[in-house]
Symmetry: C2
Subunit: 443 residues, 2 copies
């Protein structure tokens, strides 16, 4: 019955358009706008996250997807509270500060302490504990712009591991220079980690201009005192969801071509670049392909929950579908902004590289070159790759991505509709090529 | 005695350097850095404003100025409190909002109301009161970039007069799209006005991305409700100061060449572009000229207090020095950021235009062209111009100025040292030309 209905809808849709050029390529842009305007910031586990889940289900259905469902998973909920960071004598100024995701609160009256600055996490690790004990650690590592965002991995350790390393040396708290590439005065949040082996200390980021300012102050007055207050809460375990929708395959419905993005965002911007644009793209891909007729394989669009908190939705998906991952013939994720695609990387079997090379030829008119076979497929999809699922990455130009990433400034106005259309074209061509082939990318 | 000491210092200084090229043109940059790092935000009437006054006195003295003093004036003190603007059903989101300077607070629980959007202040003025009564007015006028900042005057009326016009029509509050030219998510503050003839209503600005977002929301749901809360305080009358320093003229000490900037800033950034850079420039000018020998006329550097609140320091100066304005042979102010000077405008007597033309020739190697004779000299100096003091304006390139103006993002890292050096060169040449001539610019 279900299959019959699907086929009927497909037949009707087939009459609508004949080829890609006639499709409405503004669909990704419109979906991105809708998610950011109608839902906005949607940190995992919040009521906004739940509204995003409802939004996704509703829009998948409206776009004509054959199946739509949600899959629950449990997660620890973290809630940002008010934060402040000030310096008193001799300068008496306030900094722009943001708690890092997962950070504990400070005592209500805050933490007052001297500061010790390090050029990097590596320098902190080498420090003499007697220099650090009882102080606020400040890691002041800057980040450079790069098309591939390669510097992120060099810098982000201060955010993710800084609290552990600082606590090992007896620090009271840690503040980091934002992991970001602009001089605009936004503090970049992002997930941080604790270890059960050392004390949990509060962790926060200050904006790049504030880091520059604090460095100048410390040069004038190394003994200055900072006061950090943060009111974050960890209310406990809640349920969030992956939202999944399918365009059922015509001849090989059991073979799954998985395209994805993450539905959650950080809580200060409206998560336009990270990752409403990805959501808009992959939701549009399935709908636009279906307009042209049912694909041979099933296209499964997964909007992962709680990517930001540590790929929790992806891990839940992998666990739930463990027995069916052999049927996942392909996976990819869009989670690097909304700019143009410029390179195709793959993570496939050697025998499939000819297929990837042919795919690149179909993308060449979009100025997309062929990259390497080391792709990880995207943050969430990397969990599936580790379990043997073949992946590709359509690399977005990330030059400006870390200007906005994890800030209040990640808003819809930053999305360039022309770039998003090019991006969508690349996703359509790639997804169709795999969904309408019988290639075994594992080989 | 005083004169003798002055001459001695001048003679010693003469040995240090021989001409402009050998002077340390980084001085303006260093002073800008010092004011923003050591004092930071300094809204008029605050303790930070008082620290800025002390900073200025100390640095004028250290730079070898012959006389340094402060002149008090009374002013109403306005203090920003916490502010929030949220929309509930169906969107449940928060906006980035900033109280406009001088705005009253809302009731503690805030103002909940429907919204009516206008494209401009002019459109608001034409509105039917029955459409506005009981609502929050939203003026959504955008601002374009421009080298001269010409669009500011077209847009700023919404900020300065909006509360009066909205109150006339019975509005409960007014929010405006920020008077700014960037898509970064900063709300631009700035002074607003009330009238004794209509009710005082709270007034705030939202960032440009938030204005775009609110417009989109209103298109989907015209009946949405906003909640605005602001906790501003008006503690009463306090004393602020103009800080004044002089390099005494060698042969015509009674003739005053006034160069100026304003010492106060808004309270959210560190007031680097507005107007620490101006302060650094004019403080450097007097010091560097003195290094080359005492000028013929007296160079008076005035750091006006409370420019932002309505030129209160300038008005106090004009009142206090009313009987001596005939001895003010020249006035100019630097208050348009820290970018390069590109044009020389004057506001002088017809017979002096040849002198101005000669001056432009001395500036031509800095790519500075000759403009018109309609200069107002700068915001504070416009008060003196209205009383007959001749002025010039060294026009700074203001293309990016309104990206940062009156936001938390106005910080020292935005100052380009190369541009500031060019700027300083133009100020040195101009000030020396007037101070070492006997031109009567009134004629």
């Amino acid at each position: 019955m279900k299959i019959w209905l699907t086929m009927l809808v497909a037949a009707v849709s087939l009459n609508l358009t004949a080829n890609d050029l006639e499709l409405d390529h503004s669909l990704a842009y419109k979906l991105t706008e809708s998610l950011t305007v109608e839902v906005g910031a949607r940190i995992a586990g919040s009521s906004a996250d739940e509204r995003a889940v409802v939004w996704a289900e509703k829009n998948f259905a409206a776009l004509g997807y054959d199946k739509v469902w949600r899959e629950p998973f449990k997660m620890p909920f973290w809630q940002r509270g008010a934060a402040s960071l000030t310096v008193s004598a001799p300068f008496q100024q306030s900094f722009v500060v943001s708690a890092l995701g997962g950070s504990i609160a400070t005592p209500a009256l805050g933490i007052d302490s001297n500061v010790i600055m390090f050029a990097s996490l590596a320098e902190l690790k080498k420090a003499d504990p007697s220099q650090v004990k009882g102080k606020i650690v400040f890691i002041n590592k800057s980040m450079q712009k790069d098309k591939e965002g390669n510097f992120y991995s060099e810098v982000v350790g201060a955010r993710s591991q800084g609290a552990i390393e600082a606590a090992k040396l007896g620090a009271k708290a840690i503040i980091i220079r934002s992991v970001g590439t602009s001089l605009n005065r936004f503090a970049h949040t992002g997930i941080m980690r604790y270890s059960d082996k050392v004390a949990r200390i509060p962790a926060a980021a200050i904006s790049v201009p504030d880091a520059i300012q604090l460095e100048k102050m410390l040069a004038l007055q190394p003994n200055l005192t900072l006061r950090l207050t943060m009111q974050n809460k960890l209310p406990g375990t809640v349920t969030s969801h992956n939202v999944i929708a399918e365009i059922t395959g015509r001849t090989k419905p059991e073979e799954i071509v998985l395209i994805s993005a993450h539905l959650d965002s950080w809580d200060q911007g409206t998560g336009a670049l990270d990752d409403a644009a990805g959501v808009g793209l992959v939701m549009a891909v399935g709908a636009l392909i279906k307009q042209q007729g049912q694909p041979e394989r099933t296209i499964r669009v997964v909007l992962f929950g709680n990517e930001e908190g540590g790929l929790l939705g992806a891990k839940a998906y992998a666990a739930k579908h463990a027995n069916n991952l052999h049927n996942h013939v392909f996976a990819s994720e869009s989670d690097f902004g909304a700019d143009r695609i410029w390179r195709l990387d793959s993570g496939v079997g050697k025998n499939s590289l000819a297929f990837i090379a042919e795919l690149q030829k179909k993308l060449a008119h979009l100025d997309i070159s062929l990259g390497n076979n080391d792709a990880y497929g995207g943050p969430d999809v990397s969990v599936l790759k580790a379990l043997g699922v073949p992946v590709v990455t359509l690399l977005q130009d990330g030059t400006d991505y870390f200007d906005y990433h994890h800030t209040a400034n990640d808003t819809f106005d930053k999305v360039n509709p022309d770039a998003l259309e090019q991006n969508l074209s690349a996703w359509l061509i790639t997804t169709k090529a795999v969904a309408n082939s019988d290639i075994d990318l594992r080989k």
